[in-house]
């Protein structure tokens, strides 16, 4: 079978399902009684099974199948949700994840040996059902007898009444599909098709689009109007293979007084089913209720089986977006040129048209930007699971709070931010939060609070990792730094606490007394810092002994477009990223002093070294510059400040960062280039290299 073209889709969707499995299991662990979560998990597992079987990954399908069995038993309450079971299921999900990744790498699914896991799963399944032998057989046959309900709205009932008047009959058809059926959606489609040929389908539970997407268990209900009798309907459906049972029930003429009938009673009444389980069936209510709510609203469109436009999306290769971005940039550049032509030739009509075009291009630009944005939840998603596992490993009680996961960041930033965040979280769990006993001794609640918070702050996104643990002891950091020869004793002692704590960001620093498996390998925080800074961001820490620490990461919204200050040296234009600019000042030559032959200025009591951009970049000298006014752009990297002397400040502008290409890569002091509005190219300065 030619499956390559579906491979990407399969991988993407598998990952999504695995993610929701993880999420589901986590919430199930918190609330084992929540049947709707269990159903959700079950559906995910089931879809995964179907997908992998369709793609021919039998081993993946097998494991999912065993897992699904277990989940099914939980769902039918033949088993109680216990942490042991959840652990096993988590392990299954992990193995599945690994298998899917292996498949993605082209390694095939066979690399992983999960026979142990299967044994465990089956042991639990058997062990428990042996313990309760009486219950299991009783529950099993009961299930098929259950008839899911169709809530017919008033409109639907009106249709039914109308139909009856014209001599037609209305039925609800309850269809059960075999457990072994892999392509349920295909079967359901065949059922729907067959019924559609007989008459009109008024409604189905779950709705048609859910059926198409296999968002249902093994049964579904359809309400249909036809001129055939019940037997004919039943025969047609039963003829379709893999259908285990069909129950056709005539819809009784609704409550005698149609309009007056109190809704809650009238609605469920019509399906007064022949099945003994007329009372709400344990398995059905959650999905049915969910499906019914949206279905009721669009009831008038009775035959509309087309998929609804709810949350449609397209996956696009990021490269295509980059190209789009480039093209938009070009458009803007050309527009600026047209504007200049309009100005020089005083073509009012042209200028007016261009003004309109200006609005469109600006919108276009912001839309393209927005398209590249993805919510940070994409990264945050994986952390609850990680924190849970880690907390167990460390024997700590941790409650992870995630806020602002809908905050959006550029795709390129999202891809890079995962590892640093993971590192920070691990640190918080390992070094920050104390063990429950220690916490109790300090009078804190036994459960430690760890937070992961994202929010907008101006043109930046701030992500914070917080904990209410023991905080960072500045003295300990000082000692460690001196011990490692990073700073001298005097230097260390002269540092205020806040600065001393920041020493952890220096390369090769690790404070863990014992190097654990979790963190503390000495490559921690400096890697985090360099990663963040390579993204144009900044990381900082605030801490209070015994109250906890806050790691604050500040990131630009995007890497592709930044705010920059344009400066001029002789005839050359340079861009300095606004993010690293402290202030711009205007001084006279007298303000420049020298310390050991190095030029410095004093700004608000602070001594700041200065560099003359023209000299540093060996800009060819033009006419002698007028030395009366000197413009200084004060920039900072971390806490270090430097003044950059330029000839002129042009202004602040949004610029699109372009690379200099393979041939000119790795040039010092340059972070890239940008095309200005007039089509000229300007270099972007790498401020940190100027220091």
């Amino acid at each position: 079978m030619e499956t390559n073209q579906y491979m990407e889709m399969f991988l993407d969707e598998s990952r999504e399902h695995l993610q929701s499995l993880n999420d589901g299991l986590l919430s199930l662990e918190n609330d084992p009684e929540d049947l709707s979560v269990l159903n959700e998990i079950f559906r995910n597992a089931h879809t995964l099974k179907g997908m992998s079987a369709t793609m021919g990954y039998t081993r993946t399908a097998e494991l999912t199948h065993d897992m699904e069995n277990l989940l099914d038993m939980l769902r039918k309450e033949q088993l109680k949700v216990s942490s042991e079971i959840i652990d096993v299921i988590f392990k299954c999900v992990d193995s599945l994840q690994e298998m899917v990744e292996n498949i993605g790498n082209g390694d095939g699914e066979d690399l992983l040996d999960f026979s142990d896991l299967v044994r465990q799963v089956n042991a639990i399944a058997k062990g428990e059902s042996l313990a309760a032998p009486a219950e299991a057989p009783a529950a099993a046959p009961a299930a098929p007898a259950v008839v899911g309900g169709i809530d017919l709205s008033e409109t639907d009932m009106a249709v039914v009444k109308e139909a009856k008047k014209s001599g037609l009959l209305a039925y609800t058809v309850h269809v059960e599909i075999a457990d072994s059926c892999l392509l349920k959606s295909a079967r359901s489609y065949m059922v729907m098709n067959a019924l559609d040929e007989l008459g009109d389908i008024i409604k189905s539970v779950p709705p048609a689009e859910d059926l198409e997407q296999e968002k249902f268990d093994h049964s579904f209900d359809v309400a249909v109007i036809t001129d055939k009798d019940a037997k004919a309907v039943e025969d047609v459906v039963a003829d379709i293979s893999e259908i285990t049972s069909v129950a056709v029930t005539e819809i009784a003429e609704a409550a005698p007084a149609p309009e007056v009938a109190p809704a809650p009673e009238a609605a469920p009444a019509p399906e007064a089913a022949p099945a003994p389980a007329a009372a709400p069936a344990p398995a059905a209510p959650a999905p049915a209720a969910k499906a019914a709510a949206p279905a009721a609203k669009k009831a008038p469109a009775k035959n509309d089986k087309k998929a609804h436009a709810a949350g449609q999306s397209v996956r696009v290769d990021i490269e295509k977006l980059d190209t789009l971005m480039n093209l938009v940039g070009e458009l803007v550049t050309n527009k600026v040129r047209l504007e200049q032509i309009g100005m020089t030739h005083r073509l009012t009509e042209l200028t007016e048209t261009l003004e309109q075009m200006d609005r469109v291009t600006t919108d276009l630009q912001s839309v393209v930007m927005k398209v590249r944005m993805v919510p940070v939840s994409q990264v945050f998603n994986r952390f609850p699971r990680m924190v849970r596992d880690l907390a167990k490993e460390l024997n700590k009680d941790i409650n992870l709070t995630i806020e602002g996961e809908e905050t959006e960041l550029d795709r390129t930033v999202i891809d890079e931010i995962g590892d640093p965040l993971m590192h920070l979280l691990r640190n918080s769990l390992d070094h920050g939060v104390e063990t429950p006993d220690e916490r109790e001794a300090k009078g804190k609640p036994r459960t430690g609070e760890v937070g992961l918070i994202a929010r907008h702050e101006g043109n930046n996104v701030v992500i914070m990792v917080t904990d209410d643990g023991k905080g960072i002891d500045a003295d300990k950091i000082r000692n460690k730094a001196v011990e490692k020869g990073m700073v001298t004793r005097d230097e260390a002692d002269s540092l205020p606490d806040a600065d001393a704590v920041r020493l952890i960001f220096l390369p090769g620093f690790s404070t863990a007394d014992v190097i654990t498996d979790v963190s503390g390998r000495g490559v921690g925080m400096d890697v985090v810092r360099s990663k963040i800074e390579s993204l144009g961001g900044h990381v900082d820490v605030e801490t209070k002994i015994n109250e906890g620490s806050v790691f604050k990461i500040k990131l630009p919204l995007t890497l592709a477009i930044i705010q920059a200050m344009l400066v001029k040296v002789q005839d050359e234009m340079y861009a300095i990223p606004l993010g690293s600019i402290d202030s711009t000042i205007n001084i006279t030559p007298d303000d420049i002093k020298t310390v050991q032959n190095k030029e410095v200025i004093v700004l608000r009591g602070q001594i700041i070294p200065i560099v003359r951009l023209g000299d540093v970049l060996s800009v060819p000298h033009g006419s002698g510059t007028d030395e009366e006014d000197i413009f200084v752009v004060v920039v900072h990297v971390g806490d270090h400040k430097t003044g950059i002397v330029v000839d002129n400040l042009i202004g602040q502008q949004e610029i699109v960062i372009k690379t200099l290409g393979k041939m000119l890569s790795g040039l010092k002091m340059l972070a890239g280039a940008t095309v200005l509005g007039d089509g000229h190219v300007a270099m972007i300065l790498d401020v940190s290299a100027l220091m």
């Binding site: 070009e330 050359e572 800009v619 200099l660 393979k662 040039l667 280039a673 190219v681 270099m683």
Partner: protein, 154 residues
């Protein structure tokens, strides 16, 4: 594949874009030439190798430009109305080459290409892949990968 190699092997003739540097005629295989542009503003790039004149804006992307005369060790001449930038593409890199004038696109018979390398000084010999004889003219065929110098000796 022919388009990654400017030395002619497969066919018995080769098409070249011929251009002038001072009073000599040079050529690139047409398969490597992407387009020919008039002179636009070139932005100097600090710290770039000295033969790199700078970068230009090629429809929104930044393109490095090599001063071919400086690269080949020829004396500088001022820009004229004929000055062109020949954009060549080699091994996924696009580079502009600053030349005095583009003369023509010419088909040269392989038999007329002399592989002799001893004509020029030693240091520049690596840039030359052959010398084509057309009518009474000589067209010096350049080795693009060496001219771009990605395998960086600089």
């Amino acid at each position: 594949m022919a388009n990654t190699d400017e030395n002619v092997v497969a066919e018995d003739e080769v098409q070249v874009v011929a251009f002038k540097l001072r009073n000599e005629e040079y050529g690139f295989s047409i398969l490597n030439v992407q387009e020919i542009k008039g002179l636009t503003d070139i932005t100097r790039v600090p710290f770039a190798p000295e033969f790199v004149k700078g970068v230009i804006n090629l429809r929104g992307s930044v393109l490095p430009v090599i001063d071919l005369k400086r690269r080949l060790g020829l004396e500088d001449t001022p820009y004229t109305a004929n000055t062109r930038i020949v954009v060549v593409h080699y091994d996924e890199v696009s580079v502009g080459m600053l030349v005095d004038a583009v003369t023509e696109v010419r088909t040269i018979d392989n038999d007329d290409i002399d592989a002799t390398r001893s004509v020029t000084t030693d240091s520049n010999v690596k840039f030359i892949s052959g010398i084509g004889k057309v009518d009474n003219r000589l067209i010096i065929l350049l080795n693009i990968s060496e001219v771009i110098g990605l395998d960086a000796e600089e």
